[in-house]
Point group: C2
Chain length 291, copies 2
């Protein structure tokens, strides 16, 4: 924030100055972005008795260029049955699921492939009766952060992490973490494409016991090549990139010279000498004073 606020229009590479900066160096009042074609997406829930079979199937679907999906996620048993209460009637407790939003024109080839892979279609919105659909949330409200939120309503003691399983070893790394952590950290993946390649980001449920064990679970992921974007840290640097974003910092000097915006969020502004490689948690003096 400046003495005299300016309205700035940014596009192209200039967007890097403010993208994912969490309001530390400006206030976004308007966003213009291209939209994609809209389809009458069909919600589908596919069940497997083995979580890695669900993961492998989801990964195969994500790599099928001829099939159009808006959403591909996996959730490990018993989370779907235990936390997706409205969908419980379609699921057995030992079933892990693939959650899908499928374009209508992709349903026929998708079903062919599902049959070939012995995938059980537990629910599909296009043939469900009105009675079956009554009260059901859409599949996208079972995914991303909704998964954890639904879990918290059933078991308030759980928490979660944010994990990247990098291409091309993502399936192997998911398998490794699944074997290592089992039902203490039931898997939840969202399949995405980064720089042209399909990979998976994870929002696994964590059955929380102690801070020390949570830190150990984080260390186990990172030791196995799965970077953690820690949602239990409130600064830009500790949560995400583990380093100063010089472009965002420079723009904060220009657009918020007195550091009034989102104080304590950008360590690089508050304390440029803070060692991001240390295991210490950054504590914003302003937060401490408020205690």
């Amino acid at each position: 924030m400046e003495e005299k606020p300016r309205v700035m229009e940014m596009k192209g590479r200039d967007l890097m100055k403010v993208m994912h900066a969490y309001g530390t160096n400006g206030i976004i009042t308007e966003v213009e972005m291209p939209l994609d074609a809209a389809y009458d997406w069909i919600d589908v829930v596919v069940g497997f008795d083995d979580y890695m079979k669900a993961v492998t199937f989801a990964n195969e679907l994500a790599n099928q260029d001829g099939l159009l999906f808006k959403e591909i996620a996996t959730v490990a048993a018993p989370v779907p049955h235990d936390y997706f209460l409205r969908h419980q009637k379609f699921l057995r407790r030992e079933q892990s699921v693939v959650l899908l939003m499928v374009a209508p024109h992709a349903m026929a080839p998708f079903l062919s492939l599902a049959e070939l892979r012995h995938a059980e279609i537990c629910y599909r919105s296009d043939t469900a009766t009105d009675a079956e659909k009554k009260g059901l949330p859409p599949v996208y409200e079972l995914t991303w952060n909704h998964t954890t939120l639904r879990g918290l309503r059933v078991e308030p003691t759980i928490t979660y992490l944010q994990v990247l399983y990098p291409f091309p070893e993502h399936v192997a790394r998911i398998e490794r973490m699944t074997k290592l952590l089992g039902n203490e950290v039931p898997g939840h993946l969202e399949f995405t494409r980064f720089d042209g390649n399909i990979c998976a980001t994870g929002l696994p449920i964590v059955r929380f016991t102690t801070e020390e064990r949570l830190d150990e679970i984080i260390r186990l992921h990172e030791a196995n090549g799965c970077p953690i974007f820690n949602p239990h840290r409130y600064t830009l640097e500790e949560g995400g990139m583990k380093k100063t974003d010089a472009v965002q910092l420079a723009f904060k000097h220009e657009a918020d010279p007195k550091g009034l915006l989102n104080p304590g969020k950008m360590i690089a502004w508050e304390n440029p000498d803070f060692d991001l490689k240390s295991d210490k948690v950054y504590l914003f003096p302003g937060m401490q004073a408020a205690e």
Copy 2:
């Protein structure tokens, strides 16, 4: 063809029986397929003085998930200048090009990236004057098989090949073949996505000298991990997969029991014992008789 022709409707995995079978086991009278959203595609020609820089840039664009292209091709110098006569005025002879069809909403970020990579925009249809556009074919008529056809109008002695540069080593293999064959085989690539991964298929120009040299050029590609789909062979097996397609053959027994359709095209039907691993060219007896 049967005694009493049947109308069959095929979908899903049944399509494998007839897809890419070149009319050997049926006559397709109607095709139903999903269409994608239409955009007012913008034609762009980007120039580089080094062919591998054009290839690297094209590969980077193809892997940019946020940018929408309908066409990404590269053509090595001096082919664009020498064969694309209508576009010659925009090109220097030493320029290799990237040929693009860009969605309007992708132009701004595409231009940002082009600037960052020092790519020269030789032509763009959205800002070209009417005088500049007069008589110009669209970019898609410079690509795929049009490239060779335009070359043949200028130099009738050339021919071409069809090459696959498999993911993930496609750029390294293109570089190897470019160094190995130089101006005898000027590069032409079409970027595509196979099973989720960006790779490149090639339709390089070949400055033909002898049959023996053409065979040697094919062998050099295959020895360097670049399979050839030989357009100088007329059978299904020799041109493409180098093996019998049992599903297509079985369907021919059902739908064309007397072998009346496209005779000589499917070696598996004519001569099941023909050795596809040999270097011998299959000669259909019917063709020989016609001489």
